[in-house]
Amino acid sequence: MFKAAAAGLRPYSETGPRPHTSLYPVVSEGTWLEKNNYAQFDGWELRQLINFVAADDGVPEPEIIIEVLKGCRNNNDYALATRFLEVVRLKGGNKMSETWPYIMQEIGPTMQELGISTLKEMGYEEPELWLENVDDM
């Protein structure tokens, strides 16, 4: 990610240990991704992870996204995968137009492999339904 390095950004995996890393059986040696095998996570822990990603200040790296999608596949939860993709897209904030195409480029092959359709195909890049505000009822 040459653009990211120029902007002073660093990969998400180098930011440091996270609270969930100590809760699970981990491999003593290896890279951070090998230690935290997100693909074998339970549905409950995946949701915890996604909530943490939403709260953290950064866009996750494609490798982590791929592992989480594989975890969703192992848990047979399709809705969680789309929700996670929405979170990743919106984490870009004002730079969504720069980060989202890059991430789609990186995870496109795995998404086709698993059979997950993109947010544009689902029509979730724009609001689909209108929900009345409770304060206006």
């Binding site: 409950w44 915890q48 929405e86 206006d136």
Partner: protein
């Protein structure tokens, strides 16, 4: 000393906040454990928390951590502890399909799966409500009503007219100003011809039919 005898006669029961375990299990204590389970989702006849929380959340599946599970749509907590929709037979069939290849799912299946777990997408959470139009509209209506009230009620009664607007007051005022020769360069004294004791022709733009009579009397006086 305060007299507390009348209160002692009527013994009111002290209110105790029921602890959560008592409230939740008392509902199901008399009934056997099988009444709450509906075998509609194959493989989901029982999941942890089904009996304890069914009076709170209904037949919705618990999928996350949380002591009392509730559902919210939020960007900061995108994955709540429970799914949104209740368990159905059609949903059970979809879940069976979901266990297979995801390429065989149609777009409608995917959308129903999403809406079964979540109420609204995150884009819908971000979408604006358009409430500002209502605020401005309501304020405009109120301001219009106030303008109507002031124009109709405020100017209807001659009692509310100030006395400095009447012609008598204005004529006396102009007489005083001319005698004092105020504003001789650009104002009223410059529009009055003191040698002939009458107003110059430019004064006519400030007069109406009513005031012109008093101006004539003024010029005749001088």
């Amino acid at each position: 000393m305060l007299r507390c005898a009348p209160r002692a006669l009527k013994k009111q029961p002290i209110w105790v906040a029921p602890s959560r375990n008592i409230a939740l299990t008392s509902v199901n204590r008399d009934a056997p454990a099988t009444t709450g389970s509906k075998a509609v989702l194959p493989g989901h006849e029982y999941y942890p928390g089904k009996e304890e929380y069914s009076p709170v959340i209904g037949h919705r599946e618990i999928v996350g951590h949380g002591e009392i599970p509730y559902y919210t749509d939020s960007f900061t907590v995108p994955c709540p502890a429970i799914r949104f929709r209740e368990v159905d037979e059609a949903l059970g069939k979809l879940r069976e399909k979901e266990k297979g290849d995801w390429k065989l799912l149609s777009l409608e299946d995917k959308k129903t799966l999403y809406r079964a777990s979540f109420n609204s997408t995150l884009e819908e959470v971000r979408a604006p409500s358009g409430d500002w139009k209502r605020c401005i509209g309501d304020n405009a209506i109120l301001m219009a009503l106030m303008f109507l009230g002031v124009s109709v009620i405020g100017f209807a009664d001659p009692q509310y007219e100030p006395k400095t607007v009447t012609n008598e007051w204005v004529d006396a005022q102009t007489e005083y100003l001319i005698k004092r020769r105020v504003q001789p360069v650009d104002g009223i004294a410059s529009w009055y011809d003191y040698e002939n004791n009458k107003f110059k022709p430019t004064w006519s733009i400030f007069t109406t039919k009513e005031t012109s009579k008093s101006v004539k009397t003024l010029s005749e006086k001088e």
